[in-house]
């Protein structure tokens, strides 16, 4: 409640690009991401009292958005899987990127990311894109740090494996470590 720290509504607008990036990474569709971002902002306002001013605002917002995303998945499940196929194509193709080979590499990575299970992709994005610590990621996902680490390790081995296949250069992965 210190007057020095900005309130939740004050922070929301500044945090939009970040929140939107996280949303797009999760749901792979800009249209859906924007809906999620807006819903998350609405919910954040309603729940503003539950935000502790000395805790991380980003982790708190990510958690709200991620829970909404899970809700969405749950409902979509009953509607059937057809929607996701259309949306999956609508992923990131950054306009600023000029080098053709870089674009191709990028396409492989994005493709591989889409093949990861939801629970692996979300932890990967939180740590490797949003640069949250394991501890903060654990808080966002409401799971123990040990689970964050095991999921994250699996996600990264799977990702390398998947992109390795795409690039056509087989890396000698340590199979004993338990890929997949």
């Amino acid at each position: 409640m210190t007057s020095a720290s900005p309130s939740v509504p004050e922070r929301l607008v500044a945090f939009l690009p970040n929140l939107r990036r996280f949303a797009i990474s999760l749901c792979r569709s800009r249209e859906l991401a924007d809906d999620l971002v807006q819903a998350a902002c609405e919910r954040a306002i309603l729940a503003a009292d539950s935000f502790a001013p000395d805790s991380r605002f980003d982790a708190w917002m990510f958690r709200i958005l991620r829970n909404l995303w899970i809700d969405h998945l749950r409902r979509q499940k009953t509607a059937g899987p057809h929607q996701e196929l259309d949306e999956a194509r609508d992923l990131v193709v950054p306009s600023g990127e000029s080098a053709a080979h870089a674009r191709m590499d990028l396409a492989f990575v994005l493709d591989a990311l889409q093949k990861l299970p939801e629970e692996q992709r979300e932890v990967l994005v939180l740590v490797c894109v949003e640069e949250l610590s394991y501890k903060d990621a654990a808080e966002v996902l409401s799971i123990p740090i040990g689970t964050v680490m095991s999921r994250l390790a699996r996600a990264r081995k799977n990702l390398i494996e998947l992109t390795g296949i795409s690039f056509g250069e087989k890396r000698s992965l340590d199979k004993k470590g338990g890929v997949l």
Binding site: V13, L16, D34, T78
Partner: protein, 248 residues
Amino acid sequence: MTKQNFDDETLMAFADGELDEAETLAIEEALATDDALAERLAVFMDSRQMVGDALKPLIDEPVPDALLASVRKIAEDAQKKTATPQENVVAFHSRPQADASLRAKPRWLVPLAASVVALMSGVVGFSIGQSGSASNESAAAIATALDREPSGQDVPLGATGSVLRLVSTFQAEGGELCREYELREAGSRTLAVACRMDDAWTTRLALTTPVSEGYAPASSQETVDSYLATIQAGAPLSSDEEKQALNR
């Protein structure tokens, strides 16, 4: 020479800068002589780099005007409201709370104004006065359906004309298996969440609303969603996962 063994997670933590000084040093030393270790480490360094390169630039994308405008408005409205303190906000602070990390817990009750709520802990089935239904017989039928039927399925219950729709299956925070379902009866519609404990289904939440146009007000679904968020419900299981989980 004693070759130290580092597991994947330790190597990954090294790549992510999550190790303390002593552990970091130990790995750096080992890397100097152990090529296989370096190769394994590369998986974690490369993957971080790759994902970062692929997704980080998204932050530079301009936020669409419509989104920006509506969030600005949400924020401004909220600030106006806090400027004039409100007394008509329902306070739930006195409710007992099991877990301090779920401070926002009672909020899922907020969108409820229009629905009749029944919160119960007991055997599946809710013999609620208002809806006047759900005999023991249908409770057993519901439990059987919860045990067997895949999500997305509509199950007619006996000759009453009631239909049970299985919505989804997921794990709650404690790892127990839970299912969301909807019971459509002649005069009402009930959204419910039940969890399986010791082979019996326990109702965690049941929201009954009178049927007007055959669908419940959005607030019921919202309430269920908020409730699921507070119990840290996991993502819905795929049909294969669901089959396995139900057979366990």
